[in-house]
């Protein structure tokens, strides 16, 4: 191939990449991205499983003497959790009874499935998480959580793998609420370890230590999932506080996460939306 052909090929490839960069992605990422994620995902998972196995082997050999103690502690913890679960079942039943009596329509609880973390890059500016969802098929915008709090949402599902946008990603924005005062704002990622809570007016009551949870008004994340804790409040020159949050989740310790199923829209409501769209 002559120089002209090579230059034409170079221009063609670069233009193609720029089109990929600047085009609006499909609802679930481009076909090429999903293909590559689905192809590279198993490689990553194999490495992840082998690494975990190696660590566990070494850990078991070193900590053999502590295993029995940890086992006993975990048994006691499980017993306590069973008792708490029984108590909460009673509370749930009472709430449902009261809801029926008062005619209050409660939102149905969401299903969830467990996913293994294959890869987590939390420190570079291209923060991401890749999950293996086992037999379940992930869907775009499914919230990803742990027992500690909110992790992010699925942005590119591919087969049994999913790429997740972390809440600490600079492009992430989550509707948030200060639990104590119910004041609502937007939680945005600003750095590896930080979140910023924006759109909180200067006259709003906010203090260090306040817990911030999801507000449930962005159509993606349900209400009440812990996002983080307020660690600094500064008054800026504008109309809003400059608030920094410590995330509730330690992204360095992620091993397994829960993926929440998307809420199904009631048929009656979907019919109304479809009718008004026509």
């Amino acid at each position: 191939m002559g120089d002209r052909g090579i230059h034409a090929l170079l221009v063609g490839l670069l233009v193609g990449q720029l089109l990929l960069l600047s085009s609006r992605p499909e609802a679930e990422g481009s076909t090429l991205e999903r293909f590559l994620l689905g192809t590279l995902g198993p490689i990553g998972r194999t490495v992840d499983v082998m690494w975990d196995g190696t660590r566990n082997l070494g850990g078991a050999a070193r900590n053999r003497s502590a295993l029995a103690e940890e086992n006993a502690y975990l048994h006691a913890e499980i017993d306590a959790l069973h008792q708490e679960l029984a108590r909460l079942h009673g509370v749930e039943e009472e709430l449902q009874r009261l809801a029926r009596l008062s005619g209050y329509a409660r939102r149905p609880t969401r299903g969830l499935f467990v996913a293994d973390v294959v890869l987590v890059d939390r420190s570079s500016w291209l923060r991401t998480l890749v999950l293996h969802t086992g037999p379940s098929q992930p869907e775009r915008n499914q919230p990803v959580v742990t027992a500690q709090g909110l992790v992010g949402r699925v942005i590119v599902p591919s087969g049994h793998y999913a790429k997740v946008q972390l809440i600490t990603d600079r492009a992430s924005a989550v509707s948030a609420m200060i639990l104590r005062t119910r004041r609502q704002g937007i939680a945005r990622g600003v750095s590896e370890r930080g979140l910023a809570l924006t759109l909180i007016p200067l006259q709003a009551d906010v203090a260090i230590g306040d817990l911030v949870v999801t507000a449930g008004i962005d159509g993606v994340f349900p209400r009440g999932i812990p996002i983080g804790t307020v660690v600094s409040v500064e008054s800026s020159q504008g109309f809003f506080h400059d608030i920094r949050l410590e995330p509730a989740v330690d992204f360095g310790l992620l091993d397994q996460v829960y993926v929440l199923s998307l809420e199904t829209i009631p048929d009656e409501l979907q019919e109304v939306w479809d009718a008004s769209a026509r």
Binding site: Q17, L21, S30, E33, V47, S124, L126, T128, K163, A171
Partner: protein, 173 residues
Amino acid sequence: MLQLVRFVVALAIAAAIQVLGLEIHGGFARVADPFLIVAVFVSLPGRPVAAMFAGSATGLACDALAGGSFGLHGFANTLTAYLSARLGQRLMAQQPFQVMLLFMLAGVFQQALVTLAGFLLVADSELPELWEVLARMVSTGLGGLALALVARRFSSWLQNRNDARRGKLSMAR
């Protein structure tokens, strides 16, 4: 066909190294880029067409596993690999120092491209810190040199083995 198979295997190994590196230390992706090393390695013999396709494939593979916009590293690696191939043609890099220098220059150039394309085309981009730039430059140089030396050793071992086989065959006749 054999070249293609080798490239695919190299890409898979780069993906495995990326995942393993992140398992060992969460900041691995800030200081190393195994995909870029594979792209520049393909460019070393000075073949621009192979280099461009290698750059595109490695860059898009990196984008598939990373956050941010799909195509960012694809763009940067394509151009970096092409220019590395052109430079490789001029320099005919054979000495270890020359090879390492080529990889280091490619590392710095690719970071500059990613940052520039990020600021121009992607919202919420970030400037890398100086230590990250230097660390990536050094890791790309050393990683590329190691790969080149291993590949050279393997090639000469393969050549010797083939020569020995041919020698045996001619003696048998």
